[in-house]
Symmetry: C2
Subunit: 257 residues, 2 copies
């Protein structure tokens, strides 16, 4: 597994899958209270799902809250994500240009460590945010989500390859299985993309069957797994304490300790 | 997942993967003391690996010890297994004919619930033991083990199909992965065989990477997972308490509870 580096430093142990918990509060108070519940559970990463945030159109407030999250989280890196409604997110009052402006401002304020932007966005927006993030030492995830089904392995591998080709620091694919076999398709594609590519990847299958990929995906090249801190942000997420225990069993067993 | 039935009764809950712990003692005392350590851990099944037993050539002693195991184990079904040296077992002082005689005697004594006999054995031996086991209401696992590598998916699916075609009650395949991808190959083959066939299957990948299949294999059609009670009988086995905890996480997550 390739390690994730932020600001030039590796996150987590060698080959250790990282646990990320989402924040899905609608108001500044809700987000910060959620953070207070999540922090004692010691996630490796925190993702602020800003598409849930009612004041998303107020850039000043978003930057302010991001700054408060970052301050409270201390050394835990913050991922800033606005999942689009097409890829499982909430409806937001910003259009594409407005969203890019928000992300550029977030990068310029350096109040987060990572941004997540979807590969389905126009190429010029991806390029703009790659430039803005790089200029401000903010890492960039390029992601693909499919809440309906699991595409063929070649499509999934293509998404990872596209992320790498467009200069992403991390490529992410989350897909919905319709059968247990689809979970194997996703993990197989992530494993082959990990072997073929150079950037760290995050791969998962969502929903019931898919939840096993949140436990064992690290063996197949996925570097981050998303867990429930206070509330889930996607189907199939496992409470962080329970997931951590399962990951420790995986780690001990795989290494033969 | 297909339920395992013994003596006409289902073992374990609906779709619940069963935990089997092996007994690998060399003497009657060692086997029975191992059993006393294993029983409080409440495995669903116990496998006596008689190839480890120094007195294997003494049929009377084997039947006597099997009877003691069965009595102590109460309602926990006993699997009687002599893994061959070619498939990861110990060297034994019996030839093929002598081994078949032992298994026939064990079936006649009705001192175990299941026998495990390898598909690599001659067809007439498989047929003899299928008849002897059926006549005595003893179930029969037909198995394939490869400690060197993971064959192609079609080969693995062929082993399961062969077990079913030869009248096995349960088909079992255990293979060694050389890469994480091999674990997905095994789980994929087990899943497809489960969908295509009619008998319950047991599938696992051994060793470090393979250990994840011992945790999540149930999602992909495997009905039994082998755990360490006192001592492992194959590489990659996980201590029963730890495995049970991971299986509970899998079960809760998959069912969305």
């Amino acid at each position: 597994m390739k390690a994730i580096h932020l600001h030039g430093r590796p996150i987590g142990g060698e080959g250790q899958v990282l646990i990320c918990t989402p924040l899905v509060g609608k108001t500044p108070e809700a987000v910060l209270s959620e953070l207070m519940i999540v922090l004692p559970k010691k996630p490796d990463l925190i993702e602020w799902r800003v598409d849930f945030f009612e004041e998303i159109a107020n850039t000043g407030t978003v930057i302010e809250v991001a700054g408060l999250i970052k301050k409270a989280a201390g050394s835990i890196p913050i991922i800033f994500t606005c999942r689009s409604i097409n890829e499982g997110g909430e409806r937001i009052p910003l259009d594409g240009a407005g969203l890019v402006q928000l992300f550029v401002a977030i990068c310029a304020a350096r109040c987060v460590d990572v941004i997540d932007f979807e590969l389905s966005n126009p190429a010029d927006q991806l390029a703009t945010l790659r430039e803005a993030s790089r200029a401000n030492d903010v890492a960039m995830i390029m992601s693909y989500h499919n809440f309906q089904m699991t595409p063929e392995a070649a499509v999934i591998e293509g998404k990872y390859a596209e992320a790498q080709q467009l200069g992403a620091d991390i490529g992410k694919v989350a897909v919905m299985p319709r059968s247990p076999g689809d979970v194997l398709t996703q993990m197989g594609a992530t494993w082959r993309a990990c072997e073929a590519g150079t950037i760290p990847l995050i791969g998962m299958s969502m929903g019931g069957f898919g939840s096993v990929s949140r436990m064992v995906g690290g063996v197949f090249g996925s570097t981050v797994t998303f867990a429930v801190g206070k509330a889930a942000s996607a189907p199939g997420q496992i409470p962080i304490e329970e997931l951590r225990s399962a990951l420790q069993t995986v780690s001990r067993s795989v290494s033969g300790r």
